[in-house]
Every structure is written in structure tokens, then in C-alpha cells.
Amino acid sequence: MNTGKPDNNDEALRQVLQRWEVKGPLPAGFSSEVWRRIERTQRPQDQTAIHWLTNLLDHALIKPSVALTYLMALLVGGSVLGWFQAQRDKSQTHELLGQRYVQRIDPYQRTR
């Protein structure tokens, strides 16, 4: 099946490329541009992912609806987390003070 992609092992293509002669001057910075492209294709996957994510955020957060949703999500998330943490701490303190009251009034728990 022809995938439309060049086949590196194609002998005929290789021969044609070897016979190919460049006539006329190359554009300025041609060589460095070629190396830059090669470098870009060989860049590690995580760097590409970061680049992709940065691009996505950059394009998404410009839209007011996305930016508002993001702000609201953080507002609600922060509020819920703060509330739960407060409830947990309150409940721990409640338990602790109950124990402290018992220790104050029971000599046997004081001397332990």
C-alpha cells in the first residue's frame, strides 16, 4: 500500500537524489534552518509535551469563557478544600479538648 511517505530504502529514489545537482545559490541561512528542523524533530517527547501544553494554555486562556471557567473552578476548589480542612481541624480539636477536660477532672487519668 502506498502511504504517500518517502521510503528511505527506495534504491531508485536514492540514485535520483545522488544525481541531483543544485543549481543557483541557496537561500541565506539554508543550512542552519535544515539543522534547526532536524533538531526539532529529534527533541525529547517531554519538551514537545510542555510546548504543546504551553501553546494550548496560551490559546485557551485568551478566551474569556475559558478564563472565567478556570477562575471559577479554582475559586470553588479552594473554597471546598478550605472548608473541609477547617472541619477536619475543628473536629480534631473538639476531640482533643474533650480528652483534656476528662484529664483535668479524673485524677487517675492525670497521673497516667
Binding site: L61, L74, A86, R100
Partner: protein, 165 residues
């Protein structure tokens, strides 16, 4: 790009601000309690919905009881030390150890009577339903301190029932 970074940073500020706001608002009563001179009494006030007048009476009873309690603590510690000294001297049950054990149990009896008297006085200063709840709670915490063992026993019974099935 600058706009995106601004939105990102604003989101973080909003999130952290919301967290801190809700946390501090939610724990204000806790902080107030912990910074008071008698946090355990404030806890009692909250837990058993005491009015200011009831709280005043409970505080007076508590202050009156504490010196007795402290004195009892000193006697218990002294008795424990005496018993410990006797136990370290021998490996048989001597008459002296037996006498000391009797004294220790008499001290425990005296201590429990004092405590119970205090609990009844405190419960009478509360509203009847709260007083009843207070008595049940405080007795559970002081007179029935071996509830862990009872729990283990119950767990054992559960295992036995499960094995029978």
C-alpha cells in the same frame, strides 16, 4: 502570552485566597477556644449548649473541684510509689503489699465518689437533657475506661458468630 500568565496567576491567587478565607472563617471558634485560659471549659460550653449563667455555675464548680482533684492526684502518685517500692523488694504477696493494695483501692473508691459527686453537681446545673447526656458521656470516659477491652470482647463475639455461620 502575558494575558495567559496573568489569568493563570490570578487563578492561583483566587484559589489560595478562597482556601485561606474559608479555612480561617471555619476555624475561628477553634482559635478562640484554644487561646482562652480554660479551653476545656469552653469546649464543655459548646458541647453541652450551656447558657452564660450555666457556664458561670459550671466554671465555679470546676474551680472548686480542681484543688481536691490535684490533692487526690498527689495522694495517688504517693500511693503508687509506695506500692512500686514494695513490689520491687519481693516476689511473693506479702501482708504489707496486701495492705497497700487495700489502701490503693480505698483511695480509688474515695476518688470515684468525689468525681461522681462533682459530675452530679455539674449535670444539675445544665438543662435536663444536656445534663443526662453529660453524665452518660463523662461516666463512659471515667468510670468505664476499659471500653477498649469491651470492644475487643465484642469483636471476639462477632468473630465467633461469623465462624459459627
Amino acid at each position: 502570552m502575558i494575558r495567559s500568565i496573568t489569568v493563570l496567576a490570578a487563578g492561583l491567587v483566587v484559589g489560595v485566597g478562597a482556601y485561606l478565607g474559608l479555612y480561617f472563617a471555619g476555624t475561628s471558634s477553634r482559635r478562640e477556644m484554644l487561646h482562652s485560659q480554660t479551653p476545656e471549659l469552653l469546649w464543655l460550653k459548646n458541647e453541652f449548649n450551656l447558657s452564660d449563667a450555666e457556664f458561670e455555675r459550671v466554671s465555679r464548680l470546676h474551680d472548686g473541684y480542681l484543688p481536691q482533684c490535684t490533692q487526690m492526684c498527689a495522694r495517688i502518685a504517693a500511693k503508687d510509689a509506695e506500692l512500686k517500692a514494695l513490689l520491687s523488694q519481693t516476689n511473693v504477696l506479702t501482708a504489707e503489699i496486701e495492705a497497700k493494695l487495700t489502701e490503693a483501692s480505698q483511695l480509688r473508691l474515695e476518688c470515684q465518689k468525689n468525681m461522681l459527686k462533682h459530675f452530679y453537681e455539674v449535670s444539675r446545673t445544665m438543662k435536663p437533657d444536656q445534663g443526662k447526656r453529660y453524665l452518660a458521656w463523662v461516666q463512659e470516659k471515667t468510670f468505664l475506661p476499659d471500653h477498649g477491652m469491651a470492644g475487643e470482647q465484642e469483636a471476639g463475639q462477632v468473630h465467633e458468630h461469623a465462624a459459627e455461620r
